[in-house]
């Protein structure tokens, strides 16, 4: 009931005027809305007045210089950090007070800047853990090897393989995740996140450490994932070719505050952004 009420409320509130939601998503309820979001660490404001709406099939970018607070925003959206101020509304539901795993079940999946895989488990098992809440089977059924155990194990296997196919990684299924090369680890993290059936996928520097051809391939795949799963994707990235290439809307963060929002063209021509961010790039 409570969720219905919030849903009504969010429908009535118009999107912020500076909203960057793409045309096709404008009249739909945004998958995520952050309002006046902020956090202080011991008196120091790390993020402040973060307002953003993401359309249900949008690819959004979050950029900004090092230390601008981009990863902190991801941590706020997923409740890894408890926001000091503001609200996050995910699919019409306020995520306040949810545990990290509840936020995931409510619809946000993410990857990490410093890769966090289950290194001692195989690639397939990593994906199976992503499917944990999708395919249920209780502990006793597992211990007693009841038929439901075998049925779900097969389902786990089939679905994992299907997901690994996105990045053509089926042949790596039995390799331990910790033994994978760097690029494959990043891709596996994305597959694992997708397995949780999110409505919003947060990617924290997905192209870090990749070479240009790998990055180009990743770009294709991100688009493919959006089209295939019809989900929203938000990414933090330093590779401007990737950001400008696939993002429909971009928010620029500097010193914890959004200094600009807009389409890639708008961002590229925004004097403030050039000064804070691209200007710095021009120097090196």
């Amino acid at each position: 009931m409570a969720s219905n009420v919030t849903r009504e409320r969010t429908k009535m509130v118009p999107l912020p005027s500076d909203s960057i939601v793409p045309e096709r998503d404008v009249n739909k309820r945004p998958v995520l809305e952050a309002r006046h979001l902020g956090i202080d660490f011991g008196g120091l404001t790390a993020v402040d007045e973060f307002n953003l709406a993401i359309g249900p099939t949008e690819i959004a970018g979050l950029i900004g210089p090092n230390g601008a607070g981009k990863t902190t925003v991801f941590n706020l959206l997923t409740n890894v950090y408890k926001p000091t101020r503001g609200t996050v509304i995910l699919n019409g539901k306020d995520t306040k007070g949810m545990r990290i795993d509840q936020v995931n079940r409510a619809g946000i999946a993410r990857t990490f800047q410093n890769i966090r895989l289950f290194t001692d488990l195989t690639v397939e098992e990593n994906v199976r853990i992503g499917l944990h809440n999708e395919i249920k089977c209780n502990m006793f059924s597992g211990i007693l090897r009841l038929p439901s155990h075998w049925r779900t194990e097969k389902e786990f296997h089939d679905r994992s393989m299907e997901l690994l196919k996105i990045f053509d990684m089926e042949y790596l299924a039995d390799v331990k995740a910790g033994a994978l090369p760097y690029g494959a680890q990043r891709r596996l993290e994305i597959v694992r996140a997708l397995a949780t059936n999110p409505s919003l996928l947060l990617l924290d520097e997905p192209a870090a450490g990749m070479n240009p051809s790998e990055t180009a391939e990743l770009m294709e795949n991100i688009r493919k994932i959006r089209d295939q799963f019809q989900i929203a994707i938000m990414l933090i990235e330093h590779d401007m070719s990737l950001v400008m290439g696939i993002c429909e809307g971009i928010a620029v963060l500097n010193y914890g505050k959004i200094i600009a929002k807009g389409t890639p063209e708008e961002i590229q021509n925004n004097p403030q952004v050039i000064e804070a961010y691209l200007g710095k790039q021009g120097e090196d």
């Binding site: 990290i100 795993d101 995931n104 488990l121 809440n133 502990m139 211990i143 155990h149």
Partner: protein, 361 residues
């Protein structure tokens, strides 16, 4: 694809086979009159310690948390078992049935203790968690040391003061504080121990290779990633911990019912450490290793009997040398290569040899 499943399955089958073959051989030796009485007397404790080692390996290896108070759960199971059998002495005449009831009750009370202890303990991390398990182990011992239970026509009587407080007319003393339980009928047999080992082993292996087990191992490998992947870490940590505790409770009941007298002091910090030694020497997360280490290390002091007073000293030296030896980088590599060659290694499934070497925290 089938390959890895096959390997896992084969590895588990080998473990079951080792246990069964060992049982058959020992039964044969025993009926052939080759075993000394000393060794015969150790068969049930060995089974109990094997169960304890498997149980602790679930906590240390699979859940990835160090427990220094596992003997506490063993003692909860042990004294539950003793009290239950003493109560049922007249109403249930069949010994094996009473043993079964005792073991089941031991598992249940230990599981309850696991929930009570697990909820606060599992909120902590690393060495702090370890020290709190130590503290709980000592608290359990201390409380059992001051628990007096008596039985008469009106039912069970409990006291935390002394026996006099509950000495009802003509009642029977079941648990006499630091003196423990006296006059227990020995119900445990080697066959019962063997069956219990098989049960505990099956529970452990099936748990590890199930949806629940994977979730627990995911938390061990990366807590934050597991949480962000939608796993309720509190729930799964507690599930693993309570399962581990209840297996320890079963082992405790088996152990206690092998003696006519059993005192709470038996299950102190040193016993917890002893079991941890089995787990570490057998290989953390390696269930088969735990079984072998528990069996060998329980017999070892007996084997060293020839050295009389020096045997515990030698045991200590062996322990130190084994730790130094197995952690010597050069030797470690050599052993790895050797295992690789004969295809024993669980790391053989790795594409690279260095990945996934996780021997602790």
């Amino acid at each position: 694809m089938k390959n890895i499943k096959g390997k896992k399955l084969r590895s588990n089958m080998i473990t079951y086979l080792i246990v069964i073959i060992a049982f058959v051989i020992i039964q044969g030796l025993s009926s052939g009159g080759i075993l000394t009485n000393n060794i015969k007397g150790m068969l049930v404790p060995i089974c109990a310690y094997i169960c304890m080692a498997i149980s602790l390996n679930l906590t240390v290896g699979i859940l990835g948390e160090l427990s220094l108070g596992h003997a506490g759960f063993m003692s909860v199971g042990a004294f539950t078992g003793v009290v239950v059998t003493l109560c049922l002495e007249t109403s249930v005449s069949s010994g094996p049935l009473r043993l079964l009831i005792a073991i089941v009750c031991g598992a249940i009370t230990a599981a309850i203790a696991g929930v009570i202890i697990g909820i606060p303990v599992l909120r902590l991390q690393g060495d702090y968690l370890a020290i709190v398990t130590l503290a709980f182990g000592e608290i359990i011992k201390n409380i059992l040391n001051n628990t007096y239970i008596g039985l008469d026509e009106t039912g069970l009587h409990f006291s935390m003061k002394d026996m006099n407080a509950l000495q009802a007319a003509g009642g029977k003393v079941l648990l006499n504080g630091p003196m423990g339980a006296i006059g227990v009928t020995k119900l445990s047999t080697f066959a019962a121990g063997f069956i219990l080992v098989l049960v505990v082993l099956t529970v452990a292996l099936n748990l590890i290779n199930s949806r629940t087990g994977r979730a627990v191992m995911a938390i061990r490998d990366n807590r934050i990633a597991a949480e962000a992947t939608g796993i309720n870490i509190t729930k799964y940590k507690l599930m693993a911990f309570v399962t581990s505790a209840s297996l320890a409770g079963m082992a405790g009941a088996l152990y206690a019912l092998n003696y006519s007298t059993i005192v709470p002091k038996k299950f102190d910090f040193n016993t917890s450490i002893l079991i941890l030694v089995f787990v570490v020497l057998g290989g953390i997360g390696n269930i088969r290793g735990s079984i072998i280490a528990a069996a060998i290390l329980t017999i070892l002091p007996e084997m060293l009997r020839a050295f009389s007073n020096y045997r515990m000293l030698i045991y200590a030296i062996v322990l130190i040398l084994v730790m130094l030896g197995t952690n010597n980088p050069l030797l470690k590599r050599k052993i790895g290569e050797f295992r690789e060659k004969i295809g024993l290694s669980r790391k053989a499934i790795d594409m690279t040899t260095e990945g996934g070497d996780r021997d602790g925290k």
